[in-house]
């Protein structure tokens, strides 16, 4: 009985670990995509550029629960002045319409768990659900 309990607790712990930290391989894939597509503007420290490119580190939208919005921004980009956490950012965001669902999931997992960010990992199923939301 005790053994069984231990197994369940370990399983929960492992599941929690994956949920919170994101799978190491997913993080690695996400990092690669970040470095080729995002880093130029959002910077190595995720801090963005004041007044121009929004930060991802410690950004309420990035660690928030509106996954559909994040997926939309990455896929379609935008060309408007945006407000984030009390500051405005003016540069256009480049669209990445060619990213596959698993790539979007890995990228989101990466930006939500890098620098000071600690948020849930994003699964392919969540990306697919987010795409349907529009």
């Amino acid at each position: 009985m005790q053994k069984m309990q231990f197994k369940i607790v370990s399983l929960i712990l492992v599941a929690l670990f994956y949920c919170i930290q994101g799978n190491a391989q997913n993080m690695k894939n996400g990092k690669k995509i970040y470095e080729t597509r995002c880093l130029a503007c959002h910077q190595a420290d995720g801090g963005g550029v004041p007044n121009m490119n929004a930060p991802l580190d410690a950004a309420s939208n990035v660690v928030g629960t509106d996954i559909a919005r994040l997926v939309r921004i990455i896929r379609y980009g935008y060309n408007e002045r945006i407000a984030l956490d009390g500051f405005y950012y003016s540069n256009a965001m480049t669209a990445s319409p060619d990213l596959k669902d698993n790539e979007l999931a890995d990228l989101l997992t990466y930006i939500r768990n890098s620098w000071s960010n600690k948020a849930s990992a994003i699964t392919v199923a969540q990306v697919q659900a987010a795409k349907k939301k529009k």
């Binding site: 420290d45 963005g48 004041p50």
Partner: protein, 413 residues
Amino acid sequence: MYKLSNLLLACVLVFSVNAQENAGLRLPAGFSATLFADQIGTARHIAINDKGILYAKLNNANKAGQSIVRMEDANGDGIAEKISGWGKYGGTGIYVRGSQLYASSDDAVYLYQLDANGEVINPTSPKTIIQNLHSRRQHASKSITLDPKGNIYVNIGAYSNACQEKDRSVGSKGMMPCPILDSAGGIWKFDGSKENQSYAEGKRYATGLRNVIGLDWNNTTNSLFVTQHGRDQLNTFYPTMYTDAQNAELPAETMYEMKEGDDAGWPYVYYDPFQKKKILSPEYGGDGKLEGEKNALDPLVAFPAHMAPMALLFYKGNQFPAKYKEGAFIAFHGSWNRAPLPQEGYFVAFVPFKNGKPSGEWEIFANGFAGPDNNKSPRGAKARPCGLAEGPDGSLYVSDDSKGAIFKISFNK
């Protein structure tokens, strides 16, 4: 061993104390700096009157709800003890001459009247000199300067990176001709004393400038000089043509003397400081080697890429050594588009001039704004140089638009 570590500790202590003594700046021998003011808000450009009262234009209203800040150092200790302000709108440009103070928002220029003490008389009812200029987010700030006749020159930055059909998008072509240039991407000239002017009353003075934030009238040549922010992201949009390392060095940030009707070539060309040529932009069919726009200006000075020249000032005073007389100081905000390579800039540079022409290589004048740990990420930098002003005694003031510091730099002989 114990002695050695003590010695090292002593060195570190002496170094940090010295750094504090010059407000954390590294300066040429004989110069010193004070922190004239701190945390006044997002201080963009600054201007100073003939009594040494300093005014800063803030990008956003500060905690006190002010967007133009007046700073006075009555006891002459290099630190402003009287700080007040007015105005609610954000902006960049500020210019003071006698009792007149001009300040810009991102779409207009206002004129305030000052009294004999440099206090504003009409804080809530300035004259509107220019209005309804394009303010389309990108490169929206309006820098201003005046010539001796009272004409005002306003930068209207291009609301685009490279005039692509879709801005900052992979594979999007450059528009031909670039439709932005009829109302932005250049310097416009207006009458500094006439009210309610806009495009119809002004004149496109010079074109082909992506974004100019630093500009100054040169009294030796009696002409306008500007510093341009070169285009971004050659590697992002043309990864097969430009490596990350090439993008970090291309194109040059440039200084031009702009006479009426001049064209600096944006968006069709950019300046390559290694080939020393105007290269056709890839959005317009360029391959990194093809030249273009033969009739466009060549720059007078080419600085490293992406460092973002925010202010230009020709030194008129006698306090600094003779080599600085009539030379140009340039405040570099610091780069972001050199990533993934290390960022550069975050300093004030100097270019010697003789008879109105650059007479030597540019050099770093004041450094260390980014902070003692040399953190050069745009967000992490302790200060980002943005505005320059020369006091009546010949001291040089530098503003920082991230945390709102004002540095005063003097020469001690």
